[in-house]
């Protein structure tokens, strides 16, 4: 499989009033062509900000370093003009709340046609025809009515379908979906996830799915990366990760989630997610870890390939990169 996007040693700091926040602490990950890669973690672990870094949609107080290689080019070195040619065309994104991604003052028709005209250089009629086809592709019943509606007249699930239609209008090679179903009911969540998977089979793009829900990961992803406090702690194929989690944090996360099939005892992780303004030294998970060793307080473990295609960053498994 070919690598589509490769993130190498990505660091991200925010300068804030209260000091520097160390938000990403050396992230490494590869997304292959035609796969669904899931990025999981709790609030504040840096999963959303990783995707924002890929598109360079960060506020001015952000300092990025490292490499993000996409189609042979380092995105961090591209000018804003070159980035505009990638955003929305080669890499598209959909967000958690589709209401705030759509302009409440304009009909769906106006908003879709504007985007098509801007990027494709086509007439209004052609743009309208294309918009209708896209809405059909995302299985919205009665596309004509949707086009004539304002965003508030549509339900959350329908708005998310409109966003997916817009995101797919340029045949992107990567779709970033940032918690696309968190605001939706489970039945609608299932519809949207199945739709994304179907469209992926049809149009052959990769998906970077950001979520906090391990159930969603298990149902949709091919590979998974687990993040904790700005670090990538484990990457593996989805079945391997659920069956044989290596990192104590992944293990803790898996034993803390309830299962809808039967009642199992829940073992919560103790403590809370650390503040990124003053993260713990060494391994950022060590204050909550049951297997803490002296080295964990001093040295940050590197992400190593422990077994084939199973990467982990933990001193229990060596923690030194074998090169």
């Amino acid at each position: 499989m070919n690598v589509l996007l490769s993130i190498e040693d990505l660091y991200l700091n925010f300068t804030t009033f209260w000091g520097t926040a160390y938000v990403l602490n050396g992230i490494n990950l590869q997304i292959y062509e035609d796969e669904v890669f899931g990025l999981v973690g709790e609030t504040g672990c840096g999963k959303s900000v990783t995707s924002m870094s890929i598109l360079k949609l960060l506020p001015s107080n952000a300092h990025l370093s490292g490499k993000i290689i996409f189609e042979g080019r380092n995105l961090l070195e591209l000018s804003e003009n070159d980035m505009k040619k990638i955003r929305g065309k080669k890499i598209s994104m959909i967000f958690q709340d589709p209401m705030s991604s759509l302009n409440p003052l304009f009909k769906i028709k106006t908003q879709m046609v504007d985007v098509m005209k801007l990027h494709h250089n086509i007439s209004k009629d052609e743009a309208l025809k294309m918009a209708r086809e896209l809405l059909e592709a995302v299985k919205l019943p009665d596309p004509q009515r949707v086009l004539e509606s304002y965003p508030h007249q549509l339900s959350g699930g329908m708005r998310q379908r409109v966003m997916i239609a817009l995101a797919l209008s340029f045949n992107p090679s990567l779709l970033i979906a940032d918690e696309p179903t968190t605001a939706l009911d489970v039945t609608i969540q299932k519809q949207i996830l199945e739709l994304i998977l179907e469209l992926k089979e049809k149009y052959h793009f990769s998906v970077l799915l950001i979520t906090h829900d391990l159930g969603v990961v298990a149902e949709t992803c091919d590979r998974v990366g687990v993040m904790y406090a700005g670090n990538m702690v484990e990457i593996a194929d989805v079945e391997e990760l659920f069956e044989n989690p290596l990192h104590p944090y992944t293990q803790g996360l898996l034993s803390a989630i309830p299962d809808p099939r039967y009642k199992k005892p829940l073992k919560p992780l103790r403590g809370n997610v650390p503040s990124l303004l003053n993260p713990p030294p060494g391994c950022r998970f060590h204050p909550r870890c049951d297997y803490m060793k002296p080295i964990c307080e001093k040295e940050k473990p590197e992400l190593i390939e422990y077994s084939k295609n199973h990467y982990v960053a933990c001193h229990l498994y060596g923690g030194k990169r074998n090169e």
Partner: protein
């Protein structure tokens, strides 16, 4: 087992004008003929999608909304229409925990005062000792006492809200999505806390949730709501392992299972469409517009409850 809460044919309608200047009104039937009872020490979960009326049901039982019709009994005594002054004494024994702990705590009060306020109101003695005891029982420490709500994490805020509710020695708690604003690792902490408190003090819970995995974990009985009505009610085992209503089956099928191996085994059943507007509910069985097995009769006649096994009721013309 004694009954602590009984609800009979509970209704809550909200009035809407059809337009700003229109005199015609419409009813939003948020809770439309709901009946159930909860035994002491038991957890009944109310499950449903957005707009199914589960939160309104919880609030109407505590008379935060005045019911439009039906009867509510607390420990055998009808409380539907008793005067406010009299109800106040009973209301103390029924407490509520909300979804967003931050907005249910006064940001200008420190934790000590938040927990002490209801105790002072009810003229308790030794308030300081009591607050300390309460903090301990929800897993917080003394040093949290003089912090403000914005200085502690979401999980800790929810613990404070629970401590405050426990202070007045309630018997019955309505928990409205108490963990949906929390991260999974913290969610497990709060669920375990609620379960332990129930074991120690014999609390009765009405657990309102949209998360069926959490419901499976915490409750003994479960009621599935759709457009203001209970479609199926029974023990957790009955409803999860032997669902009879087509809605329950599709709802369970939609829940993501945290096991990738399960993915291939499962059928790809998707519940089509979306929940209709409660302002304009379908005729007959409210679910017929999305139901895969709907027939002519479902459009015309609302089904009655059928007891498929002991304590397991379904509102469907064609259960099973």
């Amino acid at each position: 087992m004694s009954e602590i809460i009984r609800v009979e044919h509970l209704k809550k309608y909200f009035l809407f004008k059809e337009g700003i200047f229109s005199r015609r009104v419409k009813y939003l039937k948020a809770v439309n003929d709901v009946s159930f009872s909860i035994n002491r020490g038991e957890t009944l979960a109310l499950v449903g999608e957005t707009g199914s009326g589960k939160t309104t049901t919880g609030r109407t039982i505590l008379r935060l909304y005045e019911p439009t019709g039906g009867k509510i009994f607390f420990e055998g005594k009808e409380i539907t229409n008793i005067p406010k002054r009299e109800f106040k004494k009973i209301r103390v024994q029924m407490q509520m925990i909300y979804q967003d702990p931050y907005s249910s705590l006064n940001p200008r009060m420190n934790i000590f005062n938040i927990i002490a306020e209801p105790l002072r109101e009810l003229k308790y003695e030794d308030i300081e000792d009591r607050v300390l005891e309460l903090l301990e029982s929800v897993g917080l420490r003394k040093e949290h006492m003089f912090k403000y709500p914005d200085e502690i994490s979401g999980g800790q805020q929810q613990r404070v809200a629970i401590a405050r509710a426990l202070g007045v020695n309630p018997k019955f708690l309505v928990l409205d999505e108490p963990t949906s604003a929390l991260d999974v690792s913290v969610q497990a902490q709060i669920l375990n806390l609620l379960e332990n408190l129930q074991k120690e003090r014999g609390f009765t819970y009405l657990f309102i949730s949209h998360d069926l995995s959490v419901v499976r974990y915490i409750s003994q009985r479960v009621a599935i709501m759709y457009l203001g009505k209970i479609m199926e009610i029974g023990t957790v085992e009955q409803v999860f392992e032997n669902p009879q209503h087509p809605y329950t089956k599709l709802l369970l099928e939609s829940v993501p299972v945290p096991d990738p191996k399960d993915r291939k085994r499962r059928k790809k059943l998707i519940l089509p469409g979306e929940i209709p507007s409660p302002l304009n509910p379908p005729s007959g069985c409210p679910f017929h517009t999305r139901c895969p097995v709907a027939k002519e009769i479902c459009r015309e006649k609302e089904p009655e409850y059928v007891e498929v096994e002991k304590g397991h009721f379904v509102k469907c013309h064609f259960p099973g």
